[in-house]
Amino acid sequence: MASPPTKYEGRIGGAVPRFSWGSSLAILIVVGLAGWSYYGTEFDIVDLLTNTEPATRFVSEMFPPDFSTATLQATGQGVLETFHMSFLGALIGAVVAFPLAALGTRGVDTVGASRTERVLRVVPYHVARFILNVFRSVPDILWALVFVVALGLGPFPGTLALAVHSAGVLGKLYSETLEAVPSRPVEALASTGADGFQSFLFGMLPQGMSNFTSLTLYMWECNIRSATILGFVGAGGIGQQILISMNLFDYSKVATLVGATVVVVLVVDRFSAAVRKRITD
């Protein structure tokens, strides 16, 4: 890109890029896409602000929330189920992700490796990456639909859905962690005669461990949010109760359920964030 030297104009300019055809085109494209999407989604801010009657009715019927024993019991059960699903999903996901991540990570030492050796090493790498990509790119709610169709309604297909999606996400994050680990200690091990397995065990794993733990906790946080909506497709958790109450127009019960969900999500978020902070410090 040898551009002719531009005439110096005596100004340096700030952090915002100055006018150029490239940036004007970019702005034009963003504006164009925004307008197109505006019409595509029938976005209507006027409607939102003027037609407030259904919204106010919905909100006013939510209060006071339903604190009857039956509702509280159902809420507790839903919360607990959501909790169990998210936790087990993250755990199974981690267990599945780990070996796939180890395979899907580029090794260090390839100097002098023969062609066949390199090919042999590349095959499991690409297979593992491919599996992880499939797991990850299908959203958990779609996995839930698949498992509900295959296994029937309930929290079990939901948990499996979370596990598969978590495995995909964690596998990618784990192998990125392993690849970013400082390489000198690992190379030092290899040049002392350690084989690939030993270098992995003593060099990469200890250096990546705290990241693994904190990523897994983060996955659990994400799962508890996901688990609340998996019920909408019949895959268990508190979402199922919310959907039923919605369909029965029992908005005060919905209020209790949603409130409990928010509390649980916040508590798990805080807890996990605190633990993660301790680990990485």
Binding site: V111, G112, L189, T192, G193, F197, Q198
Partner: protein, 287 residues
């Protein structure tokens, strides 16, 4: 060292290493007898680290490197691991795994002798009794008795360098490659590490050490100087005259031999181990 004596002879013949267009080593030849000790000097970027990395095949080369009767760059993976197991390395930046206990880092000197099962056992439960004893003795030798279970990252830089030496003591290599081992440690640790390396040498291990401190290098019976990837001096330190040193170091004003220009003030006159030049700790050239 008895029967394996000859196995530790190192012969480097016409070795070149290129990084892209940059010739880091240019037709280097060097023979090191078993049990010999020599210092490698040269400016920053002269190729010292690259030479050491070539010997354990951390970089590809043209030319030939023989360790005993084995040609390093044609060995199978398994044979290469065996050779690496008998070459001990120590770097300026320790290169230990910071999260492991110091004793496990030292125990990894024996990694080449661990089968799958013992590897797993060491990973989960630590070194077995025999190895733990060896490790404890080695840690004691370097003045770190009782520190084996301390987390490595909690040790000071000098202590970590001594753990690296303890790893060598556990490994008992036939050839030691020390790449600027004193660049980041204090004078006392320098002497200590130096003594331990000399002792291993006395036990029969050949010792190649790269140094920025010419005075320290002169304590070796043989000095090899690299300049822009080529050997420009190979002989006893007596013949290493001032002119020759100036020639070796010209173009790199920072690295002029110390104690040679008493009129120059500043850190260059510091005659102890060279702690003023931590260059390379960040970059590619630190290996």
């Amino acid at each position: 060292m008895t029967s394996s004596q000859r196995d530790n002879a190192l012969e480097i013949r016409g070795v070149s290493v290129a990084f892209g267009k940059n010739l880091a080593l240019d037709d280097v030849s060097l023979a090191v007898e078993p049990g010999e000790r020599l210092a490698v000097i040269g400016t920053s970027g002269a190729g010292k680290s690259t030479l050491f990395r070539a010997i354990t095949r951390d970089v590809g080369v043209s030319g030939e490197i023989r360790f005993g009767d084995r040609r390093i760059h044609t060995l199978s993976k398994r044979e290469l691991r065996e050779v690496r197991g008998s070459v001990g390395k120590i770097h300026q930046a320790y290169n230990l795994v910071p999260q492991l206990p110091a004793g496990v880092n030292a125990a990894l000197g024996d990694v080449v002798n661990m089968g799958k099962l013992r590897t797993l056992h060491t990973f989960l439960a630590g070194p077995n009794t025999a190895l733990a004893k060896t490790v404890e003795a080695a840690m004691e030798r370097v003045g770190l008795a009782g520190m084996s279970s301390a987390k490595t990252s909690n040790l000071s830089g000098g202590q970590q360098q001594r753990v690296a030496v303890a790893r060598l003591l556990v490994q008992r290599p036939g050839l030691i490659l020390a790449d600027e081992p004193f660049a980041a440690v204090d004078p006392v640790t320098t002497e200590r590490v130096f003594d331990a390396l000399l002792e291993l040498n006395k036990d029969g291990a050949s010792l190649l050490i790269s140094l920025h401190d010419v005075e320290l290098a002169k304590r070796f019976p043989r000095v090899v100087a690299l300049k822009e990837g080529s050997v420009v001096y190979d002989g006893s330190p007596e013949h290493l005259t001032n002119e020759k040193l100036n020639d070796i170091y010209d173009g790199d004003m920072e690295a002029r031999p110390k104690g040679k220009e008493p009129e120059e003030p500043g850190p260059d006159n510091f005659s102890g181990p060279d702690i003023t030049r931590l260059k390379g700790q960040d970059g590619i050239s630190a290996h």
